[in-house]
């Protein structure tokens, strides 16, 4: 394995081990029922992180193909969660077939073969036309624009946006050949690290709600802690990227802000669906979309800025 990559893996494992140790100590010492719930939640999240990090590591070890496959699977699960919460009609079945069996494999196929121009246009250009036409020919015009827009939005967020993470492998960066996996690691560490630090800072010091009507759990203290902390981590990882230190810092700040924006928008979608009282029975594979909401918004921007900055 690449030496720099190995360093990040060891560092991440260290953080997880320390956090697990802290979790164990807290689990033994906490008494009051209020903090008990917080500690249980934290330990459950930690177990999730172990599984996710090991899965991510396994995909890395298989090289590029494993990463493309992992993100394709993440997209498929996220898209399923999104569509399940979307009130589709019988007439949408054809469009749903296009979304799941047409555009999802097509997009990741384009990522796999490295067709940069096609992977950035296939869905924004192709899906708009195909889904519109498919829904129109299905004959039912009830809420036509709303239904078509719902599916298109789900496809854009869950498939198109997420696919820009493995698409980083397709960028040709002079002097960085064969090392693009580290770009994915940098991106994921900064964005997910920001999520974790927002959670930790929010739990420790969170007081002032930042968007009470959309996401009551998000606070200004958590926001600042996550943004500053993850920007420092990203800056500290500049040696693993093709960026200069100041570029890594600016990109990290941008990624954390975009990640926060993604979380906020996806929360608004959940609120909207919640009001429609649709998902009470379905618990399903809950939460892939919750975990990657920050990635959705940050990935395409990171891809294009990186391309502009170092892959010209």
């Amino acid at each position: 394995m690449d030496r720099e990559l190995a360093t990040i893996v060891v560092g991440t494992a260290g953080v997880l081990i320390v956090a697990t140790g802290v979790g164990l100590v807290l689990d033994r010492t906490v008494a009051s029922s209020e903090t008990r719930a917080v500690v249980d939640n934290m330990n459950a999240r930690l177990r999730g992180w172990w599984v996710m990090c090991l899965t991510f590591l396994a995909s890395m070890l298989t090289g590029g193909a494993g990463s493309v496959a992992l993100f394709a699977l993440i997209s498929a699960l996220a898209l399923r969660e999104f569509v399940t919460l979307t009130p589709t009609l019988r007439a949408d079945h054809g469009a749903l077939c296009w979304v799941f069996w047409g555009f999802l494999p097509l997009q990741y196929g384009l990522v796999a073969v490295g067709a940069l121009d096609l992977l950035t246009t296939a869905i924004p250009v192709g899906a708009v036309l195909v889904l519109g036409l498919q829904s129109a020919t299905a004959g039912d015009t009830t809420r036509f624009l709303e239904r078509t827009a719902d599916l298109l939005w789900g496809l854009l967020v869950c498939v198109y946006a997420v696919s820009h993470v493995p698409a980083l492998l397709d960028l040709r960066i002079a002097g960085y050949e064969g090392q693009n996996l580290k770009l994915i690691v940098f991106f994921v560490v900064v964005v997910q690290g920001s999520d974790v630090l927002q959670y930790v800072a929010g739990k420790c010091a969170g007081r002032t709600a930042i968007a009470p009507t959309i996401s009551p759990g998000k606070t200004w203290e958590g926001f600042l802690g996550g943004i500053i902390g993850a920007t420092l981590i990203g800056t500290g990882l500049w040696w693993a990227t093709p960026f200069a230190p100041w570029e890594a810092a600016a990109l990290s700040l941008m990624l954390t802000l975009l990640g926060f924006a993604g979380g906020l928008v996806m929360s608004a979608v959940k609120r909207d669906r919640g009001v429609k009282d649709y998902g009470t029975l379905i618990r399903g594979h809950g939460g892939v979309l919750d975990r990657i909401d920050s990635i959705c918004f940050a990935a395409p921007v990171f891809f294009h800025v990186t391309r502009w900055l170092v892959a010209r």
Binding site: R80, H93, I282, G284, H285
Partner: protein, 205 residues
């Protein structure tokens, strides 16, 4: 089908359909039982089968309409054969034929088998559950004390609606309710209404 193969197939089906399986107010029990549910998709019987615990699944057989399934159509014949489906007539003109059919279904259950039955008789749109046909009542009448388990299938019509060929992986849910039996002096229509209501109650959560 060997139990190991069946377990793998059932697991794959549950993953692909993202099916949430719940037992409300009762526990799985391998005794001879009839699982009856609302019908919106060809996948209904497959999903109930896949959702059942392994020891029940091994002896569970779906009931299928002969006029629809018993045709010279390769896929349908293969499914009927693999699922060991019990083929029945949806409408019986005379009483003797209906009694023979009820006997045949009970014989197919044997001592420890179960049946998966969709008493609506045809696939609906998912909007509402249509009135039940009387087969469920006749089964319960011929074998007093037979346990009947209501099953509600949520959103399966979104996976594969009537008339569609290709399924899509939307998450669905299978909910098993508390077992019920035919009352000693309960008439056909009140019983069928009660059975239908039991499925509908599960839909409400």
């Amino acid at each position: 089908m060997s139990p190991a193969v069946a377990a793998v197939i059932a697991g794959v089906i549950r993953q692909l359909t993202g099916a949430t399986v719940r037992w409300v107010g009762d526990r799985p029990d391998p005794g001879p039982r009839v699982y009856f549910g609302n019908h919106t998709s060809h996948l209904d019987a497959v999903l109930v089968w896949a959702a059942l615990p392994v020891e029940i699944r091994r002896h569970a057989r779906p009931v299928a309409a002969r006029d629809y399934w018993d045709r010279p159509h390769l896929a349908r014949r293969l499914l009927i054969h693999l699922a060991k489906a019990v083929l029945i007539e949806r409408d019986n003109a005379d009483m003797a034929a209906r009694e023979r059919q009820t006997e045949r279904m009970l014989a197919a259950m044997g001592e420890r088998g179960s049946l998966i039955l969709f008493p609506e008789g045809t696939r609906g749109t998912g909007a509402e559950i249509t009135p039940f046909k009387s087969g469920l009542y006749h089964l319960a009448r011929r074998r007093p004390g037979l346990e009947l388990v209501p099953v509600h299938l949520h959103d399966v019509h979104r996976l594969l609606p009537r008339g569609a060929v290709l399924p899509v992986p939307v998450s669905c849910a299978v909910t098993f309710g508390p077992r019920m039996t035919l009352g000693s002096d309960e008439g056909r229509d009140p019983f069928l209404a009660r059975a239908r209501e039991a499925v509908r109650l599960l839909a409400a959560g």
